[in-house]
């Protein structure tokens, strides 16, 4: 296992960044997700208007992987329609599960591609996917 492929500059930056870490004043939906076995615990807030993510943010604690994944995801989904968000989520989860037929869709994931290496680390997969599963739930409740 190559740590330098895991704890890259971009992942470390996102994991410590506070840019997306706040509470929204006009959240329309909110969902808490946690991995009880490792203590990752995040809450994602979305401001949805006319089927579009106007704003998104998160609060909570967790490992570098879960925090970076959440932060990157929020950067990615801002301004997107819920349909586009659903597609990006599918792509991200498929990347982690090694189920992508071709890598052409990866370019849509922006910086979150940096987490591709997690697919080789079964013990850490749940850290990387937590935010995305929580996002799916949040949109479900907000729709």
């Amino acid at each position: 296992m190559d740590l330098s492929a895991l704890y890259t500059q971009i992942i470390l930056e996102h994991s410590r960044s506070t840019r997306n870490k706040r509470q929204l004043t006009c959240a329309t939906c909110k969902e808490r997700g946690h991995n009880p076995s490792c203590g990752d615990d995040i809450t994602i807030e979305l401001q949805l208007e006319d089927g579009r993510v106007v704003d998104a943010a998160f609060t909570g604690v967790g490992c570098a992987i879960s925090q970076a994944s959440t932060s990157m995801m929020i950067d990615l989904i801002k301004g997107k329609t819920t349909g586009e968000v659903a597609q990006l989520t599918d792509t991200f989860l498929a990347m982690i599960r090694q189920e992508l037929d071709n890598d052409s869709s990866l370019k849509n994931l922006g910086e979150a591609v940096a987490l591709k290496g997690i697919s080789q680390m079964p013990a850490r997969v749940k850290c990387a996917v937590l935010a995305w599963h929580t996002l799916q739930e949040a949109i479900k409740t907000g729709a």
Partner: protein, 411 residues
């Protein structure tokens, strides 16, 4: 014979391997221990020469299997100084043993308004079953809280355990903090208040002499796999007069006397609590593990582990960005150290240490109420066994410096 850790290591094939290209340094012994060849060979011998269904066959192998199983029971009884073999019930693990006590004893004895007292550091296995009993009976759960040194005070024990307490369930040693609780004192006080004492010895049993009579425990449980035995075998000790009055926990074969169409009578102790074909090879492996531990000597083991723990604690305390959760006084603790590295989540710590071959645990350690009490989401944990060396502790300490580097901190 002196204690030679390097000779001992030869007995453990699992320790000779490399992981990620580095020699394995196994410091997750509080989760499970590795097994010596003496245990592996005893299991193999049983499977080669004595496997049959015990307590049934009149044929040669049936008799051999029965003998192997019952000898294992006697081995356990001797190891914990039980009054008789009837007081030793084999279970799958400590969790099943605790469920047995909770549901066969607790459910019948606890009434609405009674109190069940637990320690805040209990493992979920000694906590969730009691929550269920409290819910089903209308009893109240009360927790013993810890002082700043992560220990229990006499005052706390005497304030919480009163004449409304029906059951006190407590681990002898915390699997997170390493704290060794004064079980004997707790049992003395609890008995004076009319309560029954259930001791979870899963963590303590590989590290110190556990004598059920000296502890004055009413029930005591442990798992085979935490004392160099196999998984899938655990022990419930219970005082005979309590076990005799308890209804069976599970029903079926091996635990009956006479079965008619509408009703049955049950087998005497200990069979009453062992429904179905038991895990004979597990019991045989556990007996071999206890032989192994005794051949080395618990006093020698404890001293070796104490030296490792004291050294690791001393070195960890020199690192200003490390915080230890647990007593610093060696008299109050066993060889389990939970710690936090500033700015580094325990899961990242464990991943990075793993690449150096160092196996540690990260997470809530099945003690979420304790984590909430300490106001931490998770911690990292190292736990030592008789086969760990000072050199391994050194590699662990060096690797910790690297954790900080990988996560972008200078030192």
């Amino acid at each position: 014979m002196g204690f030679s850790v390097h000779e001992i290591r030869q007995d453990f094939p699992a320790l000779a391997q490399s992981v990620h290209g580095k020699p394995l340094i196994y410091l997750d012994n509080a989760a499970t221990t590795q097994r010596p060849v003496q245990v592996l060979e005893a299991i193999e011998r049983y499977n080669h020469f004595a496997n049959a269904n015990p307590h049934r066959g009149v044929h040669y192998l049936g008799t051999e299997a029965t003998r192997a199983y019952e000898q294992a029971r006697e081995r356990v009884a001797r190891f914990i100084n039980a009054g008789s073999r009837k007081e030793v019930i084999f279970t799958r693990n400590a969790t099943e043993a605790l469920n047995l006590v909770a549901f066969a004893f607790g459910l019948a004895q606890v009434k609405a308004g009674d109190e069940i007292v637990l320690c805040i550091s209990e493992h979920h296995s000694n906590l969730v079953p009691w929550q269920q009993i409290a819910r089903l009976t209308g009893a109240k759960l009360k927790y013993l809280y810890l002082d700043e040194e992560f220990c229990l005070t006499h005052k706390e024990i005497q304030a919480k355990i009163t004449d409304t307490t029906k059951i006190v369930a407590i681990a002898q040693m915390s699997n997170v903090l390493g704290t060794i609780y004064p079980v004997r004192e707790i049992a003395g006080w609890a008995h004076s208040q009319g309560a029954v004492v259930v001791v979870d010895a899963a963590q303590s049993i590989p590290h110190q002499v556990v004598d059920v009579q000296a502890l004055d425990a009413d029930f005591l449980v442990f798992s085979g796999h935490k004392i160099y035995g196999p998984m899938g075998i655990g022990v419930l000790y219970g005082r005979e007069e309590l076990l005799r009055e308890m209804p069976p926990y599970q029903f079926g074969g091996d635990m009956i006397e006479y079965v008619e169409e509408e009703s049955s009578t049950f087998a005497p102790l200990p069979q009453k609590f062992e429904a179905g074909t038991p895990n004979v090879e597990g019991a045989v492996g556990l007996a071999a593990a206890l032989d192994y531990v005794e051949s080395i000597g618990l006093k020698q083991i404890a001293e070796h582990e104490r030296n490792l723990t004291a050294y690791a604690l001393e070195e960890l305390r020199k690192l200003r960005w490390v915080r230890v959760h647990g007593p610093l006084d060696m008299a109050q603790r066993g060889p389990v150290i939970s710690f936090e590295i500033e700015g580094c989540h325990p899961h990242d710590v464990a991943t990075i240490l793993d690449t150096y071959g160092v196996a540690v645990r990260a997470g809530h350690h099945c003690a979420q109420p304790l984590m909430n009490y300490l106001k931490i989401p998770a911690s990292s944990r190292v736990s030592f066994a008789l086969y760990n060396t000072k050199e391994e502790v050194d590699v662990f300490l060096e690797s910790i410096l690297n954790v900080r580097k990988w996560l972008g901190y200078g030192s």
